[in-house]
Subunit: 178 residues, 2 copies
DNA sequence: ACCTGAACACCGTTCAAGT
DNA sequence: ACCTGAACACCGTTCAAGT
């Protein structure tokens, strides 16, 4: 049975769930696929390109947001959908940041555009997309890094990122008056 | 002349400015310091601990923000000061995210607290700190990753992150009504 | 077209031993 | 206390050669 891109991405996601990014080397990936490491380079030009493909898979799993009663309600839903997809795979936030930097299409952009079409404020769509995306990725990168550090050093204080995420999101949506 | 922590951090920052994170290995660092790689492990328990110390140095360079006429004005200044410090060193955003995850004190927290003390809204101080910090780091990580990719593949389309940063920041401060 | 085998040029980290 | 020397167990990537 021949190797192909999507089988490689599948197995990469398996390894990520088992041991995170440090456990997913081109060599462990090749071993899992019963192939030599060099075989992967026929399908992907580099590990970064492979990770970008993983990022696109993760982004494809961002749940669509149905129409809501207000713009803040819908945008809250968009941000949470992005966070759930990205936090669902170990080191997923870092991988998705790489993917977006490499030019992957950001599903938040379309969702924000639809919200602005329904509730107005289309002139701020680009800014809102940047703000929500960078916020979700920034906080989740910190969270997943913290998780990796705490796994090695259990004396580290626990931090509750889910409630911090909601707090920060509400502050963003509320804005600052004066 | 004996080695010490701050000399190691100094030289690490030199190497980061010359070649970014990929160019700053424990081995290149040791070579630059005329020492064996293993010598570094007397001063720092791991490379991550060393990078956390680099992060604290970067965070110490966040410029303090003077009192302004309004809360949004001050918070804009806080976010920009954070961005300037972090974007000023190659791969600085990723390093600072690691530092914060490891427990470094975030200068944005104090600055936001002072702004809330002056202009009110102290109940949102924690949320605003989380929102501004994660936003700055998230966008700057994407930017610096994009920069590293474009250095290897010059056919990549350029992106202007400075204007995107301002757009996203204004959207955050404005908030979403309805 | 797709993969093997073998190598190249690196990594972070450990640890006995020196001074 | 502070560092050397040498090793261990890995990396990503390349490339001739096979099928």
């Amino acid at each position: 049975m021949a190797l192909n891109k999507s089988a490689v991405v599948d197995t990469a996601l398996d390894l990520l769930h088992e041991a995170g990014l440090p456990g997913m080397s081109m060599r462990t990936l090749a071993t899992r696929l019963n192939v030599q490491p060099s075989a992967l380079y026929w399908h992907f030009p580099s590990k970064q390109a492979l990770l970008a493909a993983v990022a696109e898979r993760v982004l494809a799993d961002v749940a669509p947001v149905e129409a809501g009663p207000s713009a803040p309600d819908e945008l809250r839903g968009v941000a949470r959908a992005m966070r759930i997809a990205v936090a669902g795979v170990p080191d997923g936030a870092e991988i998705v940041a790489l993917g977006l930097a490499a030019g992957a299409t950001n599903p938040v952009a379309g969702a924000v555009a639809r919200t602005c079409a329904r509730h107005g404020g289309g002139d701020r769509a680009a800014g809102l997309t940047t703000a929500l995306t960078a916020y979700v990725l920034g906080l989740t990168i910190e969270e997943q890094t913290h998780h990796n550090l705490a796994a090695v050093d259990p004396s580290m204080p626990r931090v509750h990122y889910d409630s911090r995420f909601d707090e920060g999101l509400e502050a963003m949506l509320a804005g600052v008056t004066d």
